[in-house]
Symmetry: C2
Subunit: 303 residues, 2 copies
């Protein structure tokens, strides 16, 4: 079991959906990622929050395998996001994004973290992702996420990131946009040619498609058939946390470990959507993860 | 290995897509189904064509395990359909549907076919599907397809069909429409409560979701990641042919056989879309099916 360094956003989210509304609850890519990954291995969280995040916020991470010495608290307000979901949860409108203290964020990796063997670059400015890469010393595996905003706004810096990471974790719309190719199998290969040896395309309720290994072999998993999806916020980062966390716990990096990691990521993401914010993850048990992983086997097994 | 009775349409299709156009090529639910199923078992085809279908048309079925004694040729023109696909093949517009000889079609099941242990009711008027059921004697398994036209137009007769079939094979949009439920897992359970013990939801490039067995356990499979899709016409009926055909070849009907049948259906459908009309299926070999089935295992396997 090896530790994971996670760099990204920690936010206060306001979410409205057909089931209700919550105000200033914990969110952000690094928050979902860290809580999810901490079910598998030790996590070193590097992020910034404002003074409003408070002890109540940081207490969410306590009692877990999450080292908070890289979590800076600075004067001002925490990154805030407000989103509203449509009636079937498949459409989401961003009401506002207030970067606040995140605007001046420069990731400073504590000395003790720099040799972290596994690194996750959450969805932040590619320049900041590169700054993290400049500070770490030969990690075994670097995984990165990104989004449409950076694909459009900072393509050159994003290309530089892609040349330096091992795993790109991206959703289907972003994969199509970044590759300029509608067919996902082709898009995966195009993205792979940009640098990352492994490309993981998150397809939401349509599962996950991964291309990896020497010749770009595919692995595909359906999503868990969920009868009740409550709040999809953070599902992608939770997936990434389960994926990278389980790889770090396993220690080996090969096609079998990557396939298993896809299923652990899908498993833990299937819990995250059952409640608002981190709520379901915070009351999740190892036993529940194990049982749902086994259910995934029954769900997909044939001979 | 047991024979399958297939009742449905045989048509002359005109298809335009970004890659070209073909005029009056063989199509129809029973045509795709029969050719696909004949790779696995003996097929008894009951359908009607006009005099324009000709020897060239029927020759497509010859040299295969397809018994044509139930294929009526009557005066007039064969059922004709013309469709046009959008640039990414995900949208399809029906230019015309001319029922022609199909308008007066009444399925007459030859005496020798009436004890067929496996029965497939292609997407035809539910009243005709019921007429078929009235003529067969205690089949082991009846599978049926339907479409939006019958869901809207003849809901009562369709409900009667559902009460009398074992397997409903339906696409995702139709599953949502028939169940009046957007969530597919819930929709599957609602459809199951209408009668069929097994519900198979075809999701196109998003794979297949099945619910079966006593307590409605799910089986889910991703679609083969295809880099080149040429013509999706008939993919659903081809899937059904592989599904029912492989079940009939296996002889056993249980959860394991149903899961394997989903993969055989997906496998053969993944070939059908590689060329216009039945063209790819007509030059397909058992060896190719076996290899792609094995590829499906590698594609989805984890431990």
């Amino acid at each position: 079991m090896e530790p994971v360094l996670a760099v990204g956003s920690v936010a206060l989210d306001t979410i409205r959906n057909p089931f209700g509304e919550v105000t200033r609850v914990a969110g952000g890519s690094a928050a979902y990622f860290s809580v999810a990954a901490s079910f598998f291995t030790d996590v070193r969280l590097v992020a910034v929050v404002g003074e409003d995040f408070g002890d109540r916020g940081t207490s969410l991470f306590e009692g877990r395998r999450i080292d908070l010495s890289g979590l800076q608290t600075v004067p001002g307000e925490t990154f805030r996001w407000k989103g509203e979901y449509g009636f079937d949860l498949n459409t989401r409108e961003t009401i506002y994004t207030k970067l606040n203290v995140f605007e001046q964020f420069r990731p400073v990796i504590p000395e003790a973290y720099r040799s972290s063997p596994f690194v996750f670059l959450g969805n932040i400015h590619p320049r900041l992702q590169l700054e993290v890469l400049d500070q770490v010393t030969s990690p075994r595996l670097v995984a990165a996420d990104t989004m449409d905003f950076w694909i459009e706004g900072t393509p050159d810096e994003l290309r530089e990131v892609l040349r330096r990471v091992d795993v790109l974790i991206i959703n289907d719309a972003e994969a199509r946009q970044l590759s300029n190719e509608a067919n996902l199998a082709k898009a995966a290969r195009i993205l792979r040619a940009m640098g990352p040896g492994t490309v993981v395309i998150k397809r939401g309720e349509n599962g996950v498609l991964m291309t990896c290994s020497g010749d770009g072999e595919f692995f595909a998993a359906p999503a868990m058939p969920l009868e009740e999806v409550f709040d999809p916020t953070g599902a992608g980062d939770t997936f990434a946390g389960g994926f990278v966390g389980s790889l770090a716990a396993c220690g080996e990096i090969n096609d079998a470990a990557l396939a298993r990691a896809i299923i652990y990521g899908s498993t833990i993401a299937s819990f995250a959507v059952e409640d608002f914010s981190l709520d379901r993850l915070l009351r999740l048990t190892q036993d529940e993860i194990g049982k749902r992983f086994d259910y995934f086997k029954r769900l997909t097994y044939f001979d």
